[in-house]
């Protein structure tokens, strides 16, 4: 499973960076979305994809029995998804407003602040 995931993650990163290098701001934002998804999958994969019981400790035991799934990467990914969702919602509103004001879906036309 891991090699397959590694390839998928690599493709996602590549696609994201390709999109971010385009001039269109819509593609830029799609690139950002793919990038955050790629990072989430990477955390998930690099933490080890073990099948296991839920990480619960039975009553009266000092520790869990048998192999358990690591809950931490899942918590981390969940947090990262929520953050990415919030930030991307902002980014989408931002490009809409920017499009209304600049009237172009083109980063090359947004050079007023560079000079």
């Amino acid at each position: 499973m891991e090699p397959l995931m590694a390839v998928a993650i690599g493709l996602l990163y590549a696609a994201a960076i390709f999109l971010m290098l385009r001039r269109s701001i819509v593609k830029l934002v799609i690139g950002l979305m793919l990038l955050s998804n790629a990072a989430n999958l990477l955390i998930f994969t690099s933490a080890g994809m073990t099948r296991g019981a839920p990480p619960l400790i039975p009553d009266g035991m000092p520790g869990p029995l048998g192999t358990i799934a690591d809950p931490l990467p899942q918590a981390v990914v969940l947090t990262a998804i929520v953050i990415a969702f919030g930030v991307l919602a902002f980014a989408v509103v931002l490009i809409r407003r920017a499009y209304e004001i600049v009237k172009a879906d083109d980063l090359d036309k947004m050079k007023d602040t560079d000079t």
């Binding site: 701001i25 990072a39 955390i43 981390v76 953050i83 931002l94 920017a98 980063l107 947004m110 007023d112």
Partner: protein, 524 residues
């Protein structure tokens, strides 16, 4: 229980929530802003007192023992940064009373400001690498909101660059955290430090070190990753610019110091050269960029970049003295840079523009403003006896001791170039007479983002400027006692064992942890 460690994070969150509750009652929001930041200052001094007494103060959130729970820990570096955050927060909240118009206040200026301060304070106090990421995002989201407040065209264009590059940095940071967790199986920074020292794949550790360097380098606006900063910092309302200039990049610098002294202190033979030359190029490009500009806030923005170079140089030389100098530079820069932006806001109010060519004659009309600018600007350039001189002096001395002569020479030359830029602003804004074609708007009737105010409120803008200029002078006069504090920071950062013991409990050393992890591996 040590509540003073958690309070600097909780207080801004609380004042932010209160001001959201009073969404329509703007006078209440303004009151909460000043009162909340005053309380933050008190708490930060409390934290400072505890840290100077005990060395390290830590608290395990939710009662989960480290390394399983999230640790909040303050060492001297964190405490100094928190005090500076509180000072800047208070100065900005007073300044905002006069400079931020009702159109901005209506859309949540004060709640966002509190949220930003909470994010900054959280980043300074956390001992957990993923939690650091979360605080970075809290800070970032609040800064997005503040950056586009008002929604003018330059703000939108600046915001797109700012948002894109900062999100990219966040993703690199997150990716590095994921790989790091895959390697060491823990997120607690002290625990990571212990386990990285034992890690087998040295190449992987170096890759991670560089990933963190790039991620924090973008946040700190280091060469060659700084382009978002001069493209966006001059676009928002001036109080927001000043807040960003004072605090945001410094959080990136703080993270570099923390990560490279604690976690990656043995990858130095590989990363040190990168950091040194990155610092040198940061100083030079920043100052050259500023030389070409004729817009007040853009000059200052480029100088932020330039000054970041000094701080990173302090880290890169990696001796206790150099680190002390680097942190001294951070402290001095937070105060002085914020103040310069605040002065630019007042001159904008008085003359209606940020273009140096169109301004003039302020020395004659407002001599005290000129004095405040003079102190801050010459402190930035490193003229004795002001604060910047001692920061530069310590870094240069550390550079000579480390025999890094080329970089030290560059640092000195950049000081001169900084002086050139500051003299340029001085000549154009304060010294020369006002150009004929500038129609200075009458106070109170001018239109624009931040100019709907009546004259009596101007003292609210002068007050923080005078206070921060006074701080810059004080830092210069009391350089010796402050330097002692900085040396404590340098020693603490160079001996991470103390930090690790403060988080994981006394008696933990690398050997014990190794034994433990071997037991864990053999037990299932």
């Amino acid at each position: 229980m040590r509540p003073e460690v958690a309070l600097p994070v909780l207080l801004p969150l609380l004042s932010g929530s209160i001001s959201i509750l009073f969404w329509r009652a703007r006078p209440m929001q303004r009151f909460v802003a000043v009162a909340g930041n005053l309380a933050l200052l008190v708490v930060s001094l409390w934290l400072m007192a505890s840290v100077s007494r005990d060395g390290y103060v830590s608290i395990q959130m939710g009662g989960w023992e480290a390394p399983f729970g999230i640790t909040l820990i303050a060492d001297m570096l964190s405490a100094v940064m928190i005090v500076l955050t509180a000072i800047i927060g208070l100065a900005l909240s007073i300044y905002s009373l006069a400079s931020t118009g009702p159109d901005h206040e209506k859309f949540g200026y004060y709640p966002l400001m509190h949220l930003l301060l909470a994010g900054v304070a959280g980043a300074f106090l956390t001992g957990d690498i993923f939690n650091l990421y979360v605080w970075f995002e809290v800070m970032l989201v609040a800064s997005f909101g503040l950056l586009i407040l008002g929604g003018e065209k330059p703000q939108m264009e600046g915001a797109i660059k700012y948002v894109t590059l900062n999100l990219l940095a966040s993703v690199i940071f997150l990716t590095a955290i994921g790989l790091l967790y895959g390697m060491v199986g823990t997120l607690n920074m002290a625990d990571i430090a212990l386990r990285l020292a034992e890690a087998e794949h040295r190449g992987m550790v170096e890759v991670l070190a560089v990933m963190f360097m790039v991620a924090f380098g973008i946040k700190a606006a280091a060469f060659p990753l700084f382009f978002w900063l001069p493209a966006s910092y001059h676009t928002p309302p001036v109080a927001v610019s000043a807040l960003f200039a004072g605090l945001l990049t410094k959080v990136g610098v703080y993270s570099l110091f923390r990560v490279f002294t604690l976690m990656f202190n043995d990858t130095l033979d590989y990363t040190q050269d990168l950091l040194i030359w990155g610092a040198a190029f940061t100083m030079v490009t920043g100052v050259l960029g500023a030389a070409a500009q004729y817009e007040f806030r853009r000059i200052l923005s480029f100088h932020i970049v330039s000054q970041i170079g000094y701080m990173i140089l302090g880290l890169a030389l990696f001796t206790p003295l150099a680190i002390a100098g680097g942190i001294f530079a951070v402290m001095h820069n937070i105060v002085v840079k914020t103040n310069l932006f605040l002065v630019s806001g007042i001159t904008r109010r008085l003359q209606g523009t940020y273009q140096l060519k169109k301004m003039g004659g302020l020395y004659k009309e407002h001599p005290w403003l000129a004095v405040a600018f003079f102190i801050s600007a010459f402190s930035l350039a490193g003229v004795p006896p002001l604060s910047g001189f001692f920061a530069k002096f310590v870094i240069v001395r550390a550079g000579i001791e480390a025999e890094a002569y080329v970089v030290t020479g560059i640092a000195l030359a950049v000081g001169l170039m900084t002086l050139y830029s500051m003299v340029k602003i001085w000549n154009e804004v304060f010294w020369k007479s006002l150009p004929e074609d500038n129609l200075v708007p009458e106070l109170g009737v001018a239109s624009g983002d931040d100019s709907r105010m009546v004259k009596p409120n101007l003292w609210l803008m002068y007050l923080p400027v005078a206070g921060l200029a006074f701080c810059a002078v004080l830092i210069g006069i009391f350089a010796q006692p402050l330097m002692v504090t900085m040396q404590v920071i340098g020693d603490q950062l160079m001996t991470p064992q103390g930090y690790i013991e403060a988080v994981l409990g006394p008696g933990v050393d690398v050997g014990d942890m190794l034994l433990e992890s071997q037991l864990e591996e053999s037990s299932p």
